[in-house]
Amino acid sequence: MNDKQHSRAVTVALLAPAGVFFFFLLVLPMVVVLVFSFGERAPAGGYAPAFTFDNYLNLPARGKAFFNTLTLAPLGTLLTAIIAFPVAYYLAVRVHPKWRVTMLVLIMAPFWTSQLLRYYAWMMILGSKGIPSWLALLGFGDIRLINTPWAVLIGAVYGFLPLMVPPIYVSLEKLDKRLLEASADLGATPVATFLQITLPLAIPGVATGSMLVFILLMGDFILPQYLGGGKVFFIGNALVDLFLQSRNWPYGAAVSVALVLIMLATIYFYMRFILSRGDRRRAVLV
């Protein structure tokens, strides 16, 4: 075997294991889902071969799930980013360097405990015996939190703050404090300094964190099930119902395809927007 053949054999050996997983657990299942989405529901549930667009034309029947997901997932992501930003800023700029990592780890730690139990605890906190009953003592009667979009948004911020803070922290930590001083010396107001220096530098971190949270929120079904009750349901809940309860696989497959397409399109346009903004800012800074 000559050198070139040897080198090629090594490359194939390196890529083969990942290639096998990509093929059998990503490409093949996606092709099956795509094929099924044009099929019909078998009488006993499952899939029967056919070629029809009915499943796609029927998507509006689950419009409510799409509407809830497509409003609450971006809104939840935005809210999480807005709350995470000052936390990340405080940790990166104000906290003594000795304590930074510890405080960051404390932000992340809740994510590594049972998600199910934490949302269950929130069910109790937001339920009629939790916060609403304390508010009633203060004279605010008849406030309902659980099973409302508000509960889902609180849960989203709670659940994903630990994932949003670290990437923003990482991009802000690189911030050269002298830039802030220079900006102030040149007569910029704190607001102008923030908008022109801090925020543009943090954009990559905000983009990474938001994407991570958005992907997880779009596919979630535990959060809406626990905190939204039967009232505020996501596409994930529709999928659980279609695949495990009503066993309408072709329709469920069409819903999955729609979900994946919406996600890919959103991420594509979001990244393009972020990149073009980032470049313009960089150009201005130079």
Binding site: L15, P29, M30, V101, I107, M124, L216, I222
Partner: protein, 267 residues
């Protein structure tokens, strides 16, 4: 600002403290306080359903972490050596594996494999007397898919920041390619591989959504927690949650310590 930060930490930890506090409840119902006791910790550990679920979850998480760390590193090294369409194909697959929501991975894996098994099982059963079914192995496979991509991205970032002159020096000193890899490249990549290993472990141990679809008759800890929340929570589940919380905190502290030690020589 200070008060806001304090509130955020309170917001993050209040529900967790509630779980920890209620694990010491002596009453049967998790959320009706009867008095302090540690009896539920004993009960949790003598409950075979819980110990079995814990064993299943640990098996899945450890296998996932090992396989993803190895295959993900190989993928990152392999990607360095290819150009053109093959490079683009593997890049697209890597990012797709991360971007497709877990629920879609779970569902598509379920229907693809169940359909496949329905085709081959009659033959298999006639020929060898056993049949393929979903289970622990499918959970591991689906978890490895996602985590291979995560490890590959971490290792690749590390590779790109690596000092090439070290490799050249090693080659100049007549080290074999294998020798250079083991003595130079691998130690430099170790922190990224370790970080990937830990991420894969925690992701896999915590995952409910994918396992819910592909675990078949097997029960992981999150699946057990889910079904017991459905039946009505007892302090037993809170005790399990508390133990898991303490072990993850411990793991996180150890990981932090190891990573910091690993970072130093590079700087």
């Amino acid at each position: 600002m200070r008060y806001f930060i304090a509130f955020i930490y309170f917001f993050l930890y209040a529900p967790i403290l509630l779980i920890v506090a209620l694990s010491f409840n002596s009453g049967r119902q998790a959320f009706v306080w009867k008095g302090i006791s540690t009896e539920w910790y004993g009960k949790a550990f003598s409950n075979p359903l819980i110990t079995e679920a814990l064993t299943t979850s640990l098996t899945i998480a450890l296998s996932t972490a090992f396989l993803s760390a190895i295959f993900g590193t190989l993928l990152a090294l392999g990607l360095e050596r290819v150009k053109g369409w093959l490079r683009v194909l593997f890049d697209v697959l890597t990012y797709t594996a991360i971007m497709v929501p877990g629920i879609v991975i779970g569902i598509s894996t379920l229907i693809a494999f169940v359909t496949l098994f329905d085709l081959v099982n009659p033959t298999l059963e006639a020929a060898m007397g056993w049949r393929l079914q979903m289970g622990t192995w499918a959970v591991i496979a689906a978890h490895v898919l996602f985590n291979i991509a995560v490890v590959a991205l971490l290792v690749r970032a590390r590779l790109q920041g690596m000092d090439r002159s070290l490799i050249e020096a090693s080659e100049d000193l007549y080290a074999t390619p294998a020798g250079t890899f083991v003595q130079i490249v691998l130690p430099l990549l170790a922190p990224a591989i370790l970080a990937g290993f830990l991420l894969a472990f925690t992701f896999s141990f915590e995952d409910f959504i994918i396992a819910y679809f592909v675990a078949g008759p097997d029960v992981t800890l999150p699946i057990y927690v889910f079904s017991s929340i459905r039946r009505g929570v007892t302090p037993e589940i809170n005790a399990v949650g508390t133990i898991v919380l303490l072990s993850s905190l411990l793991l996180l502290i150890v990981a932090q310590w190891v990573l910091r030690r690993g970072e130093k020589p590079v700087n």
